[in-house]
Structure formats: C-alpha cells, structure tokens
C-alpha cells in the first residue's frame, strides 16, 4: 500500500542527511587545500621566514605537517560521518 506521508518524511530525511554530508565534505576539502596547496606550496616561501623546532616552517609543512594534517582530516571525517549516520538512523526510527 502507498503511504505518502511516510515516503515524504523518508525523502526529506535523506535530503537532510545528504546536505549535511556534502557540507562536511566541502568544509574538510577547504582545509585540505589550505593545508597542502596553501601552506605546503603557495605560501611556502613566506612561511619559511618562520621556524618550528629547527625546521623552516614552509619546508616543514611540505614534508611533514601537511601529511599529519591529511591523516587527521580523514579521522575527523570518519568520526563526523559516524555521528551523522547515527542521527539519520534515529530520525528514521531504526
């Protein structure tokens, strides 16, 4: 049997979930670009004017900092999506 109210609710919940997931993805990708392409490349010569424990900062970002940042970004993504999944499941009453 067709139940329009339930189907509409389901569609709206799915749309909310997807919008939140895309927002999170875009936010993390902005950080990704700022870290790798920004600090590691574009501003590297300027950042090299500062130093961090024996490293010129731009050089450190290109060879160490960006990589550490990338690992953290995926960790944050996996945790945040897990929360989002849980909320979505609760909304749908599963």
């Amino acid at each position: 049997m067709h139940v329009p109210a339930a189907a509409d609710f389901r569609r709206a919940a799915d749309a909310r979930y997807w919008r939140a997931a895309v927002r999170l993805t875009v936010a993390l990708l902005v950080v990704w670009a700022a870290l790798g392409l920004g600090c590691g490349v574009w501003f590297a010569d300027w950042l090299n004017g500062f130093s961090l424990g024996g490293f010129p900062l731009g050089f450190w970002f290109a060879q160490q900092g960006a990589i550490v940042g990338f690992v953290v970004l995926i960790l944050v993504y996996a945790l945040a999506m897990q929360r989002l999944d849980r909320r979505h499941r609760r909304e749908l009453g599963r």
Partner: protein
C-alpha cells in the same frame, strides 16, 4: 654471517610466509576472487591498501629523489598522501555502497553505456600495465644487487611467486599477503632510519632528528645542509621554487599527483573488499595512517642521506672513500671522473665545471666505458688527447649520484649491521610484490569481469567466470614479467602519463557520477575523452615532439591537474544540452548516497 647470507635468509623466510598465507586463503568463487568475500576488517584493509599503494618507487626511489630535490621533493610526499583525502571523502564510501567489483563497472552502470565502460576499461588496463612493468623491474633489481643473480632470474622468481598466490587466492590471497608485506616493508624502512637518526643526531625519532643538531658538530642538520649547498653551488635544500620547480609547476604537479592517486584503480578496488560503507571510511583513515609512517620517515632519510653523501665523498681521495662508495661504484650508479688532483669533488649546477660525480642513468654500459677511457686519455695527455668525460656527462644531464641508491645505501653509509641491510632488501621486494599483485588483479578483472562477463558473455556461469579469472591473472603475470625482462624504454615518462590519465579520466568521472544526479551518458563520455586527449596530447607533444610548454609553462608531470579541469568543464558544460540519466540510474545515485538501506 655476510650480508648476502642474511639476505637469502630474510627473502626465503618472507617468501615462505607469503606462500603459506596464500594457501590458507585460496578461494572457490568469484566474490572471493574479486573482492575477498567483502569481509576484510577496516584496519587490515588499511594495511593491505598501504602495501598496495607503496610501490618499489615509494620504497626505493622516493627518499633518494627528495634528497636530490630538497623542498620540491614535498611534491611527491604531499601528492601521494593528499590523494587519500580525496579518495576517502569523495569516492571510497560511495563506490563501496554502489557495491560492484571494479571501476569500469561503476562507470558502465552509472552512465548506462558500454561505450563508457570500454573507455574506462582501456584506461584501467593502460594505467595498470604502465605501473606493473616498473614493479617487476624493481623485483629484478633488488635480486640482482643483493643476491648477485641476474636481473632476469630475479624477475622470474618474483613472477613465479605472484603467479602462485594470485591465481590461487585472487583478491583474498592478495589481501592477506599484502598485510604481511606491509609489516615487512615498514619495519625494513623505519628500523635503519631510526638507527641512523640516533647515530647522526642522537634523536630516536627521525622526524625530530631531521630538525635537530648533528651530534658530531652541534650545528643543526638542515642549517648544515644549507651551508654545504651554498658552498658547493647547489640550489637551497629548504627554500621553495628553485630551478624548473617554480610555483605553478609545484602546485600543478602536487595537485595532479593527488587527484591521480585518488583515481588509481588498484587502490580504489581495495575499498570494495570491506563489509560496509562505514568500514570503507575507516579503512581510508587506517590506510593513510599506515602510509604516513613511511612518508613521514622518507624526508628524514633524504636529509640524512644528503649529509652522508657530502660527508663521505666530497674532497676525499680514493683511499679515504668509504666502503659503500666502492660497492655502488661497481654498479655505475656512482661515477667518478677526476680532474687530476685525485680528490673527488661533488658540485651543483652553479659550479658545474668543477663537478666530478656522475651516474650512468640510461646510458649503455659500453658507452660509459668509452667515455671513461677517453677521459683517462684526456687526463694522461694533459688535455691534448681524448675528451673530458665530465663535459660529456654534464651535457647528457647525468650529474650527481643516482637517486635509487640512497635508500639501499644509507644503512651501509651509517655502517649498520648486516641483518638490517638484508632486511631492506626483503622490504624492497615486499613493496614491489604487493603493488604488482594489486595491479595484476585490476588487469585480470578488467579482462575477465568487465570485458568477458559484462560485455562478451553475460550468461557465463560462476565456474566459467572463475576459470577465466584465473587464466586472465596468470596471463597478466606473464605479460608483466616480459615487461620486466625487456623493459620498454619509455617507462619513466609513462608513469607521468599514468597519473595524468588517472587524474584526467577516472577521478572526475567518478566524482560527477556520485555528486551529480543530472549528468548523463553523453557529457560523461565527452568529458573522459576530452580529459584523456588533452592530457595525453600535451604529454606526448612536450616529451617526444618538442612542443613548447604553452599551458602556463606546466611540465608533463603537472598537466593532469589541468586535464582534470578540462574534463569537469566539458562534462558540466554539455550537461544542460544533453539527456539526463534514466530513472534507474537516478535511483542508483540516490541509493548510493544513503549509508545503509
């Protein structure tokens, strides 16, 4: 025990382990053969992905390349790790939810076209064959250098091993051996560097030691390198944008490597082997964590090796040169052409005329021998006779040592124990074999699954498909071995091509297929073709036909980034004028975005 005896022990032990694991993991159906029954836990899949991804090039050549490039080496470090962020956030969870066996599967089904499937299939085959040739060669080279057997014998031994475990266990066998190979390669990579860091800087963490002081002099290591580089005419080690690595090229190359990494089929298929979407996200995290262990160590190896090269070689007489110099001089990866004063001098491009240290590169060994004897005649006659070999080799761009020796030679430079040097050989083999097996699986799945089953004979039975799968992987091993024995001369250039192709074909089409519900067949195929033709044309044009680098001066390595933009622009530009996807494909997209339905 000698290094060679230790190497036989280490290689024998690790090879037996791989075979035993493969025998335990043998499979009976295509689900097991292609996606390891989709039952690999996320951390283990992370290890397997890490081993799959880190190739002979990552293990053997990367640190050496960074050592010679300094700051610009970060292009490889950031490019090859940053791609995993794109993979984990944009592709892996959705492709896992989509739940097929291969990348061409997704392209063909989402865009409802066998034409798109075939384009994707050809890209997958090209990328994988390009890559696998280098791996098999890597296996042969490690055998040749450490066990003093012929390169071809080494290739054959590696082939036989991969043949057994890939045909027996398919993806399942490959997964379990890759997990073991990860540990072999990471231990082999990190242990010597920790020992060197302790010795050189007194710090057990190489990542900190690199920024610390040289214990013998009390001067910071990086400052010491800067000083040496300045004195001997090299561009700065830590300052960005020297020589041909200007800002635009560093940016584009980094981006192209990132996007290319995310589009490599043998890495993507690893995410099909986990239980569900959440496990796919987590294995993205574990994979990059395990990869980062090596990638954060490599720049330290690079800086230490750079120091040892100057410290050990520059200004030394033949008697003073260290043992490792003599080992590697035999292979011609280090070539010393003296100016007559009996001291080796190593100079950079700004004092090119004084440099005496070269490498054989792609030169045939008899030609190098001719250069050497002409040089000796030139020295003996005081310049009246013969030819100055330094001028000849400089003109051929063969100044400086070969990047490949640095990882293999650093344990010897620091005079570490024989068993550690043997461990490095086993690690190099693990890195090459794990990547080769992942690539071979993609090649055989393209043929057996995408071509035979999805296009040629959709009615094939399970038993038939499994048989074709085994034949295909066996055939692929043999072809890869032939490439290893008779390496096509263009391998080095084609690696840039493989990344460019992955960046300009797979990555955009997958992202569009997942994140746009409105892109249909025509824009997708047009986008793929535009990306491939632009990138391929530019690389072939600039490398082989002397075309100028008209696109912002970008070199062939970085053009994939622009190719990706061309692909996106063409596909999105055509989309309003072409038919959208059918209701079936739209439902597919909707299902893919919902985590658990």
């Amino acid at each position: 025990m000698s290094v060679q005896a230790w190497t036989f022990v280490m290689v024998g032990l690790t090879f037996s382990l791989y075979l035993w694991l493969a025998f335990r993991a043998r499979v009976r159906d295509t689900e097991g053969f292609w996606v390891a029954d989709r039952g690999v836990p996320a951390p283990l899949n992370g290890m397997a992905t890490a081993a799959d991804w880190m190739s002979a090039a990552s293990f053997l050549s990367m640190a050496g390349t960074i050592s010679l490039l300094g700051y610009a080496g970060g292009v490889y470090l950031m490019g090859w790790t940053g791609g995993f962020v794109l993979l984990a956030l944009l592709l892996a969870p959705y492709l896992r939810k989509f739940g097929h066996f291969t990348v061409p599967d997704f392209v063909g089904d989402r865009f409802e076209s066998n034409g798109a499937r075939i384009v994707a299939l050809c890209c997958a085959l090209f990328i994988s064959f390009t890559y696998v040739a280098g791996q098999m060669r890597g296996v042969g080279i490690v055998f040749a250098r450490f066990l003093e057997v012929d390169v071809d014998v080494g290739v054959a031994a590696g082939m036989a091993l991969v043949f057994v475990y890939a045909t027996l266990g398919g993806m399942k066998g490959i997964t379990w051996t890759q997990i073991a190979q990860y540990w072999v390669l990471i231990v082999a990579y990190v242990v010597p560097v920790v020992a060197i860091s302790l010795q050189l800087t007194g710090n057990a963490l190489p990542q900190l030691g690199m920024g610390g002081n040289v214990a013998a002099t009390g001067v910071p290591l990086l400052a010491t390198l800067e000083q040496i580089h300045r004195d001997l005419g090299f561009p700065s080690y830590t300052e960005p944008f020297t020589g041909s690595w200007d800002r635009v090229n560093v940016l584009c190359t980094t981006l192209a490597l990132m996007v290319g990494t995310a589009g490599l089929p043998h890495v993507i298929v690893r995410f099909y082997t986990v239980k569900n979407v959440q496990a796919a996200r987590w294995s993205g995290f574990w994979a990059l964590l395990f990869i980062a262990l090596l990638y954060l160590t490599a720049p330290a190896t690079a800086a230490f090796a750079r120091y040892y090269v100057f410290d050990g070689l520059h200004g030394k007489t033949a008697e003073e040169l260290p043992g490792w110099y003599h080992t590697w001089a035999k292979t011609n990866l280090l070539v010393w052409l003296d100016d007559g004063d009996g001291r080796l001098e190593y100079h950079g491009p700004q004092q090119q005329a004084a440099n005496e240290l070269f490498r054989i590169g792609g030169l045939p060994s008899d030609e190098l021998a001719r250069v050497r004897s002409a040089h000796d005649a030139w020295l003996a006659s005081g310049g009246r006779d013969g030819v100055d070999g330094r001028v000849v080799l400089t003109a051929k761009k063969l100044s400086g040592p070969d990047a490949d020796i640095l990882v293999l030679a650093t344990p010897e430079m620091a005079q570490l124990a024989a068993w550690i040097i043997a461990l490095v050989a086993a690690g190099g083999l693990a890195a090459a074999l794990s990547t080769a097996s992942g690539l071979l699986l993609v090649i055989s799945s393209s043929i057996a699954h995408d071509f035979y089953f999805r296009i040629l004979r959709p009615s094939a039975s399970e038993a038939q498909r499994l048989r074709v799968s085994r034949w295909a992987i066996g055939g692929a091993v043999i072809v890869a071995g032939v490439f290893g024995v008779f390496p096509p001369g263009f391998v080095a250039e084609t690696v840039a091509f493989a990344f460019g192709l992955a960046a300009s074909s797979f990555f955009p089409v997958l992202v569009l297929g997942i994140f746009s519900a409105r892109i249909g067949t025509v824009p997708a195929i047009a986008g793929m073709l535009a990306g491939i033709l632009f990138t391929g044309g530019y690389i072939i044009g600039t490398v082989y036909f002397g075309m100028s680098r008209w696109c912002f001066g970008i070199g062939p390595q970085g053009i994939g980034a622009i190719g990706m933009l061309v692909h996106f622009a063409v596909a999105l530009g055509l989309q309003p004028f072409c038919a959208g996807p059918s209701a079936v494909a739209q439902a597919m997209v909707a299902r893919m975005r919902e985590p658990d339905s």
